[in-house]
Point group: D2
Chain length 345, copies 4
Amino acid sequence: MAALNFLSDNVRGAWPEMLEAVTVESAGAQRSYGEDEITARLEARFSEVFEHELRVFPVITGTAANALALSTLVPGHGAVLCRDGSHIAVDECGAVEFLSQGAKLVTLAGRNGKLSPVDIKSALAHFQRGVVHQSQPAAISITQATELGTVYTPGEISALGKFAHDSDLKLHMDGARLANALAYLKCAPADATWRAGVDVLSFGATKGGALGAEAVVFFDPDDARDFAFRQKRSGHLTSKMRFLSVQLETFLQDERWISRAHLANTLAQKLAKGLAEAGAELAHPVESNAVLVRLPDLIVARLRNEGALFYDWEPPRDGHTLARLVTSFATPEDDIEKLIALAKR
Amino acid sequence: MAALNFLSDNVRGAWPEMLEAVTVESAGAQRSYGEDEITARLEARFSEVFEHELRVFPVITGTAANALALSTLVPGHGAVLCRDGSHIAVDECGAVEFLSQGAKLVTLAGRNGKLSPVDIKSALAHFQRGVVHQSQPAAISITQATELGTVYTPGEISALGKFAHDSDLKLHMDGARLANALAYLKCAPADATWRAGVDVLSFGATKGGALGAEAVVFFDPDDARDFAFRQKRSGHLTSKMRFLSVQLETFLQDERWISRAHLANTLAQKLAKGLAEAGAELAHPVESNAVLVRLPDLIVARLRNEGALFYDWEPPRDGHTLARLVTSFATPEDDIEKLIALAKR
Amino acid sequence: MAALNFLSDNVRGAWPEMLEAVTVESAGAQRSYGEDEITARLEARFSEVFEHELRVFPVITGTAANALALSTLVPGHGAVLCRDGSHIAVDECGAVEFLSQGAKLVTLAGRNGKLSPVDIKSALAHFQRGVVHQSQPAAISITQATELGTVYTPGEISALGKFAHDSDLKLHMDGARLANALAYLKCAPADATWRAGVDVLSFGATKGGALGAEAVVFFDPDDARDFAFRQKRSGHLTSKMRFLSVQLETFLQDERWISRAHLANTLAQKLAKGLAEAGAELAHPVESNAVLVRLPDLIVARLRNEGALFYDWEPPRDGHTLARLVTSFATPEDDIEKLIALAKR
Amino acid sequence: MAALNFLSDNVRGAWPEMLEAVTVESAGAQRSYGEDEITARLEARFSEVFEHELRVFPVITGTAANALALSTLVPGHGAVLCRDGSHIAVDECGAVEFLSQGAKLVTLAGRNGKLSPVDIKSALAHFQRGVVHQSQPAAISITQATELGTVYTPGEISALGKFAHDSDLKLHMDGARLANALAYLKCAPADATWRAGVDVLSFGATKGGALGAEAVVFFDPDDARDFAFRQKRSGHLTSKMRFLSVQLETFLQDERWISRAHLANTLAQKLAKGLAEAGAELAHPVESNAVLVRLPDLIVARLRNEGALFYDWEPPRDGHTLARLVTSFATPEDDIEKLIALAKR
C-alpha cells in the first residue's frame, strides 16, 4: 500500500507544465549563469505580477533564499527578530548565522505562528541601539503562510511594516508558501508584500510544485547591494540558471501558482474538517495547506500503523500529540478520505 | 541566424533521457531532503561505478561541490595548493575562502594546466608546518579535465596522490569534466581517482548534460565528517533532492556519461583540426572538449562578426588572442563546420 | 568631587604588584609570540594551582577568551546553551557566533543567574541530535560568579557537569570573576572547576586587578585542538605575550587573586547591608562583588545627582529600578559609606 | 652568556616612560571599553600629529589592526593586492581572510619589498570589475617600513595612492614600523600617509617600545563604518582600554616615537656596515631597523654557535643564507659590536 504522505508539500513532484517547460527550454543553447533570455525576462514578469519595480534572483532552496536575503540586509553585528518556531530559527541549522558571519536571531513567542508589533517592541526594549556590546536589531523576519498554517492579513503585515520602518528595521518575508497565503487572502500579491511594507521576499515555488526553484525578490533594488556576489560565493549561482527561471515563469503563468495553492488549501480544509469530526482539536486556524491538530496518541498510533506519514510538531504530552499534516496540489483526495476514515475508526 | 555557441558546455541543455527520468520521478511522493529512494540507492550506484566504498552528496553547482568539499577537508587555518588558473582560484569569487572561514588558496603556475609534485614541493618549502603564524598546507586541488582542455594521466595523478599523502595533504579533484577526461583516458573511473590517490571528488554532471546536478564523492567516508551539516547550513540541501539524484543516476546509466563526453571530445578534435588547418596555433593539447587556440585578431573579429561566441582566455597580445572554444554532446556538427569555414575564409 | 564609581570592577586600575612585575619583566629580551620564559612556566603554575594537567592560552579580553574557547569546542553547526542574561549572550555583540562561523546561542531563563540540569534538559527536548536541519547542542556555558552576583556551588556545577557529559556536551565556564566566586566558596579552585566537570575555563584576571589579561584553560589538552591557530588568525596572539603572562603569574602569586577578591566581596557585603538598611530590596543573594538591588527611583536619582555611577540592570518599572553596583579590590571603603549615607538620606 | 638577540624588535621590552605612564594611569577609576578620558583625548592627539581629522581605534596586535582595518574596507567578495612576502600574506595565518569572511589576498612580487603602480596594474588586468565570478579588487596594502627593511618614499606612496584612487581602490598601510620609516624619511607623518593617499593606517607602537599597543587610524572617518562593531565582536575591545591609550599617547609624546626609531635605525646601519666589512652582501638597502643580509653558511653557523639569534629569511642555498637581523631602541650597542666581531673572526 502506498503511504498516505502528509509530511510536507515538498514530498510531491512537479506540475506537468513545469516538466514540459523545462523540456522545451532544454533545446538550443543559452548563455549560462543567469545571462540567458528566460532569466532576462523574469524580472519583468515578477514586476508585472507584483506591480512594482524589483530585483529577482533565482536560487535552489528556501534556506538559501532566506539566508542570502538576510545576510544581504543585516550586518554580522546585526540581529533578526523572528518567531521562535520560524524555519530560519529551527530548521536551517544556523544558515543565517553562517552566511551573515554571525548575525543573531532573536526568537519571540508570537501567537498562532505570527508576530505583532507588540512582540517586537517588547524585544527591542532589551537592545541599546548604537552600543557596540550588543548585536544591533536590523530586520524582522516573518513567514507567510506561517509554519503553523495560519496567514498574516495585509493589515497585520502593514502594522509590522510600519513598525519596522519606524524602528529603522527591514521587513523580510519567508514566502515559501506565499501562494497558499495569497490563495487564502484573495488579495493582490502586492497587497500582502511591498504595499504592506515587505522589503525583501523569499518567494517559494518548490513547495507549490516546482522541481526546485525559489527566488529572492528585493522590492527596493538598492537593498540588493552585493547579493549577486553573495549568491556566487556561496555556490548558489547555477550555470544552467534558465532551468530555474523557466520553472518560476511557469509557476506564475495564468495565475496557476494561486489556483494550485488554492487546491492544496481546499484539501487541507477538508482534512481539518474530517479530523475535527473524528474528535481532534485543531491547534490553529487552518488558513493554508497545513493542519496543526492535537490527536489522541491512540489515533496517532493507528494512523501510522496504517502507513500514514506526518510529523509530531511537539513531543507527545498527556496522551495527545500535536501533529502537522500538510497537503499539496498533488495530494490525492482519496488519501484524505482514507486518513479521515482511519481517524474516525 | 542562431549563434555558433562555443562559450562553454554549460550553454547547452540536458539529455532527453534526463528530462524523461525527471518526469518519471515526478510522479508520486517521496521523502524530502535526501531521504528518498533514489538518493538512497545513489551511493550504491556510485560505489559500483567507482569500485569503492564511498559517500555521495548531490549539490546543484560545481562551486558548491568544490567549496563544500574543500571546507570539509581543510580547516580555516589551512591552505589549498592549486593551479593559478584553476576554477576555484579565479572563477568562484572566493567561495572556498568564504565557506572554509578563511582558508588560503596557494596558486601555482603549472604546465599545460597541470600541477606536478615538483610544483607542490617547491611551494611547500615556503611553509613551516605547525607554526601558527602561517596557514597550514592541508590539501592539493587539481582539475580533471583541466581548464585548458588537457587531461592528467593516471600516472600523473598517482604521483600527486603519493606526494600528497607523504606530505600529509589530502588530494581533491575538481571533476566538473571528469567524464571528458575518462573518455580520453579510456581507463576505469577508479584508475583516475581513488586508485591514483584522490581523496575527494567534485563529480560533475551539469556540463555533461544534466539540468543541474553535481556530487561530492568522499572515497574515505571518514573524510566526510560534518559535510552534511555544511551542506545544510549553506543552503545546499535541496528538499526535492530526488530530482538531483535521478539526474546523476541517469548520467551514469549505460556508461552514457562517458559516451556523450566522447562525442564532445570528438567534436573538439574536429574543431581543433580545422582551426589548425586555418593556420591557428593550438596552445595546449586537445585532450577533452575544450580547444585553447591562438587566433589572429582578424579571424577573431570575423568569427564574432558572424555570430560565433567564445571567450578570450587571455587579453589580446601581438595581434593574436588566446581563445577558448568548448564543445558539448549537443554541439551541432554543422556549427563546427561553419566555424572552421569562417576561420579559413 | 570624584565620582562614586560602581559601574564595574574593570573601571579600576591594576595592583601595584602587577605594575612592578611588568616593569621588572620589561628589562632584557625574550622571544615573542608566547615563546618566552614566563609563558613557558605559566602552564606549570596553573597546573599547580588547579591540581591538574592543563593547557593555558593568555588573551587580552574576556570576550576573546569566551569566543575563542567556545569556537574551539563547538562546530559552526553547534549550539551553546547559556543563560539569557549571560555575557556571551548579551554583551559580546555576537562574538561567539562570529568566531565560530555561526554557532547558535540557546538562551535559557535560569534562576538567580544560574542554570540547572532541569533548564538544560527542557531545552534539549527541542533538539533532535544528528538531524542536519537543526543546530546541534554541543556545550553548556555558565558564568562564575554569575552576572547577578551569585555563585554556583561545587555541587551545582557538578550536577551540570554530570548532566553535560551524560548528554555529550562540553561544560564551559566564563570565569571573569572566578576569584570572587572562590573567595566566597572557600574551596580549592579544582573543586569548582574540573573536579565539578568544567572542561574549559575562561580565567579572568582583568576585573580582579590586572592591566588586561585573561586566559583560556583547557583541562583536557585534547580539547585545545586548533586553539592556537584560532588565537593567531583572530589577532589574539600578542607579540610581547610575556607581559600578559607575567600579569597572570602575579595574579596567582601568594593566593593574592583570592584575597583581593575576598576584599571586593566584603565591600559588596557592606554595601548591600547598607542599602538594605536604607530600605532597598536585594534582588539576588550577594555572594560575590556585585550587588543587584531594587532601588526606589527617587533614591536612584539622588545617588546619581551626587555623582554615583552604576548601571540600571533593567529598565525602571513601577517606581523602582533594578540597579547593579560592583565593588573592586580598589573601591575606597569611604565611597561605600558615602553611597550608603546618600541612600539613607 | 645572554643571547645576542636580533630576532625582532618585539623581543625587547617597553620604554621606561611607558611603564611610568601606565603606572600613573592605574590610579583612580575610569570608564571602561574606551569611554575613558585618555582614549577620549587620543583622537585629538593623533589628529595633531597627523595634521588631519581622523578616527583612532587602539588594539593589542598588529594582526588585529591589519585584519580589522582591511575587513572594514573590503567586502567578503573583495581582493587585497599586496606583496607576496607581506606580513598579512605570510605571517598572519589567514587573519584577513578570516575576519573579512573570505576576501582574497592577491600577492605580487614587488622589488626591494615594495610594490609599484606597474605591479598593481599588471595584476588588475586579470580581474574583470563587476563580474560576479571573480573576487573584486578593493584595496592595496603596503608595509612601511617594509618587511625587508626598505622604506617607501612619499613619492612612491603618492604614485600608489593616485593609482589606487583612480582604480577605485583603497590604500592601506601596515605601519608596524612606521616610526622607523619616518625617522629615515625625516618627513612629516602626514607626508608619508594621507597626503600621499593612504586611507587607513595600522599604526604600530609595540615594536617601537610599547608593552602592546597598536592603533587603526582612518583618515576618512566615513571609512571607519562598522569598525567599532567588528572590534567588539572579534574580542578586541579591551575593558581597561586606557592602558592601551596611554601607551599610544606616551609613544607620540615629544616625538619620542621618531627619536627612538632613529636610534634603532642607526644601530641597524652600524650592524649592516660591520657585516658588509665582514664580507656579507646586503640583500636590500638598509633604510630602517632590519638588515637583510646574505651570509656564508659558515658564518651563520658560527654566529648561532655563539648564541646569536636571528631568522633565516629564505632557506639556505648555494652555501649562503639570507638572514634577517632586527635592531631596537633597546638593542645594546655592545651586542652589535660582538656580533660584528664574531662575523669577522
